[in-house]
Amino acid sequence: MTTTAIFFLIAGLGLITWVFARARAGRFIQSGVASVHSLPSYHGWYAAMWAVVPAVLFLLVWSTVAPALGSYQVLESPLAAQLPTDAFERAAILSEARALSRNPDLKVFNDAAVQLAPLYSAADSRYAMIGALAAFLLCFAGGAFAFTRIRPDFRARTQVERTVMLGLLLASLIAILATLGIVASLIFETVRFFNLVSPFEFLFGLQWNPSDKIVDGQATGFGAVPLFWGTVFIGAIIAMLVAIPLGLMSAVYLTQYASANVRKWMKPILEILAGVPTVVYGYFAALTVAPALRSFAVSIGITDASSESALAAGLVMGVMIIPFVSSMADDSIAAVPGSMRDGSLAMGATKSETIKQVLIPAALPGVVGGVLLAVSRAIGETMIVVMAAGLAANLTANPFASVTTVTTQIVQLLTGDTDFNSPMTLAAFALGLTLFVVTLLLNIVALQIVKKYREAYD
């Protein structure tokens, strides 16, 4: 019997339990017992829960343990004594034998596996039987226990609802687990990195030229300032110079001037800009924008313009951020009470005067918060810079020069090469932690600003 079949059987048993428990509870009501606390169906759910949940949990645990038990049994057999001693070869033969036991038509690579296959069939089916029996036992026991508890005054609903609550709570806990996972995985490797490179050198060093060479226990060339600069230059300066005016003005136009029809069509169209995957932007930047910018730069006399300029990456990233800024601006402006706008218009101000002098100043904290969020997103953006910004760790403010960013370097340091002892791998985690902390701070500050702002008008 396969595990899936057992699952289905248990589900079926759960259904039967549900029906019977419900019927039993229903009889109380019919027999006119004074106050029945819960509806019959809750009694049904309660009993079904007891019948199914323990059995399924057991099966889940069993399905991870059983193969190992089966392997144990096979290894005990005399045939197994002839297996090679090398753990890897043995594992290969065993796993092939198991695969063969499930699907005899497979092509045989190791002949030894053929002999072991029947042993595997025997062992596996034995443990499957044991598991199935135990699961059914649990199912019956659980169901019977719950069944005996069905009484008029039994608060089945409360019990069921408590279980539901528990499920909900567990679901929420995953967020905390994920956060812990991120922090732990970053910090652990970063600490190891800082054994090789001093944090001071990492945060303030001007030379980024990483290598695996370790001299006197110290790795060199891990001064990340050029990366930080490149990140800020592309994500916080160039991209924002594009995104803020375009995003803000689009939001203003669409919310204040455009007719409902135009707004209805243009808003989703602009939002497409945010839905285009970054790898597409990256490709576009590298293939189309960067060469165009370079020829433009050359034509205006900047002959040393790089074909992977900060400008190309920043420009495209800025466009990607436009809908982000515009929707934040849109929200902030919408949150300004209409009475403010009316107040200004009633004074005889024109629309643009109202927008410039009342709406935008009033929405400013929200807009600033939104821009900070956009910055945090821009500096964490990876593919555009990986594909279009290049790897040169230059400290330059020339937009036509090539710079590199934190995320580019993380990708560069980690793709493929995952030896967790090399300072270069560890450096990627240190960069990751830095990025994490910075984006986190930006977000906290931004959300704080936005929240304060919302409160001001509530």
């Binding site: 409902a260 009470p337 009475s339 706008r341 009316d342 218009l345 009633a346 004074m347 024109t350 100043p361």
Partner: protein, 261 residues
């Protein structure tokens, strides 16, 4: 308790003739004609949703800001049709000021709130004159003494009643001819309400004033003329004392005695 000094005006400041307002398909005002003169405070009363605010907002074309709103009929200010194309709406609104139900000071300093109108209309050639305008307006709105030491504080930091007086100061800073007030006291406590009512008394005569109110006692206290609206029509318009003591219409009487609303 009622102010019964009904005054007769020779020439009306604003007059509306057969005004109809539509929100999309729905007609909110069904032909209202009224004359408003300089000497009186006019109160609009009526149950919720009867169109008081709507009609009030036609008087300075604030309805223009609602895309689906459409106005028919004639409204004149000093004889000039305010819906004619030659009428500049920006100027109109400077001449017909408005105070709203919820105090809505700009999130700027008190000074900037009051100076906002004069600045955009270029009424003060220099800082000194602007200061003068701000001071005068605040004095006239009865707020000067309370705020003169903190003109740079934010307008939103004032109490509700002060905010509403600030809004009145802001409205009169551009030296309007008519002031429209839409339930200016409904968000205020009794003491602040009393202050505003007093202020309206003082402003009377200098500006034509129209006030919408839910509170019939208030209408009785501050106005000389009262218009009763119901379901988009103006049921009755006359001296406040008559309306409250001796309404001509059945519906008015029912409303005043609290049969509905």
């Amino acid at each position: 308790m009622l102010d019964n000094t009904a005054t007769t005006s020779t020439k009306s400041k604003m007059s509306a003739r057969d005004v109809k307002v539509f929100y999309g398909e729905k007609q909110a005002i069904k032909g209202v004609s009224i004359d408003i003169d300089m000497d009186n405070v006019v109160a609009f009363i009526g149950p919720s949703g009867c169109g008081k605010s709507t009609f009030l907002r036609t008087l300075n074309r604030m309805n223009d800001t609602i895309p689906i709103a459409r106005v028919e009929g004639d409204i004149t200010l000093d004889g000039e049709n305010i819906y004619s194309s030659s009428m500049d709406v920006v100027q109109l609104r400077a001449r017909v000021g408005m105070v709203f139900q919820k105090p809505n000071p700009f999130p700027k300093s008190i000074y900037d709130n009051v100076a906002y109108g004069p600045r955009i209309h270029g009424l003060a050639p220099n800082k000194a004159e602007l200061d003068q305008i701000v001071e005068n307006s605040l004095v006239r709105a009865g707020l000067w003494n309370e705020v003169k030491d903190r003109l740079q504080d934010s307008g939103t930091a004032l109490s509700g009643g002060q905010q509403q007086r600030l809004c009145i100061a802001r409205a009169i800073a551009v030296d309007p001819e008519v002031i429209l007030m839409d339930e200016p006291c409904s968000a205020l406590d009794p003491i602040a309400t009393a202050k505003i009512e007093e202020l309206i008394h003082e402003l009377r005569g200098r500006y034509a004033i129209v006030i919408v109110t839910h509170n019939m006692q208030q209408a009785a206290r501050v106005s000389q003329k009262t218009a009763f609206f119901h379901l988009g029509t103006m049921v009755e318009y006359g001296d406040t004392s008559d309306i409250f003591t001796n309404p001509r219409e059945e519906r008015t009487r029912d409303y005043i005695t609290g049969r509905y609303g």
